[in-house]
């Protein structure tokens, strides 16, 4: 069977993975990705607003990442910004989730057939949203990601990082993943695994 080239992009659909790593001073873990990271505009607003980023670390990280982080514009985010510019104070609760739904709809309708979304999340509600039902989607929460990076010896201090994250939470962050699988279009890494057998 011929190999098909696939494009992998990391999608961060909720603020938590970024804020969690910011709290333990390890936003540099995102530097390990060679694939682009997609964040919708409304989630960018959430992660950079003063209440969540009082010391400006996330803002500085976004600046440093440059075009490795792609901010996906949505009508939800644009509408919110327009209201803010008009001097209104719109409620932003749930708008991140609605903006991600809009982005996921765009991907579902117009995305490339070779696109593989790796969704890095923490909020379990993400599992109920449209982004979690995209074709070939691979879901991974922060704990499972760190554990996999440690297993692959990409980072040396996986258990310490998970301990540091859990020290700031009321309940431990349990690893959660849902690997992407499809019978019709094999992803590059799955094809590679088959070849090795």
């Amino acid at each position: 069977m011929a190999r098909r080239t696939v494009d992998v992009a990391v999608i961060i659909p909720d603020a938590s993975p970024v804020l969690t790593l910011a709290r333990i001073g390890r936003l540099d873990l995102f530097d390990t990705f060679t694939a682009p990271i997609h964040i919708v505009d409304q989630v960018r607003y959430e992660i950079t607003k003063e209440a969540n980023d009082p010391r400006g670390e996330v803002n500085a990280w976004l600046q440093r990442m440059g075009n490795r982080v792609i901010i996906e514009e949505t009508f939800v985010g644009l509408g919110f910004q327009t209201k803010v510019e008009r001097g209104e104070t719109p409620r932003s609760a749930n708008l991140g989730e609605i903006a991600v739904d809009e982005y996921a709809t765009r991907l579902a309708l117009h995305g490339s057939p070779s696109f593989v979304p790796l969704v890095l999340f923490e909020d379990p509600d993400v599992l109920e949203t449209r982004i979690a039902r995209l074709p070939r989607v691979h879901l991974l929460n922060t704990a499972a990601w760190i554990r996999a990076l440690a297993d692959e010896e990409i980072i040396p201090d996986g258990p310490t990082l998970i301990e540091a994250i859990n020290a700031q939470r009321n309940s431990p962050l349990k690893p959660l993943e849902r690997p992407g699988r499809t019978a019709r279009v094999r992803s590059r890494w799955l094809s590679k695994r088959r070849r090795q057998k």
Binding site: N166, P172, R188
Partner: protein, 72 residues
């Protein structure tokens, strides 16, 4: 001894399962394991549950080791 101290001792193998179960007031090993895991700890000698081979394989494709930037 607090719960955290007891779990720490158990994880390091300084106390046995029996003592931990008595301390917690549980009579099933499964319940002990569940409490230990729920508190983000491992049973002594156990390895954390590994992530799926597909996830590891995918991350191998799209990640690289990087050195940490020195703190300013």
């Amino acid at each position: 001894m607090t719960l955290a101290e007891m779990l720490d001792k158990l994880e390091r193998g300084r106390i046995g399962h029996g003592e931990a179960m008595r301390w917690l007031g549980v009579d099933s090993y499964n319940e002990l394991v569940e409490i230990v895991h729920y508190n983000g700890r491992q049973m002594p000698g156990h390895r954390p549950m590994s992530v799926a081979p597909e996830t590891r394989s995918l991350l191998r494709q799209i990640t690289r080791p990087v050195s940490r930037a020195p703190k300013p």
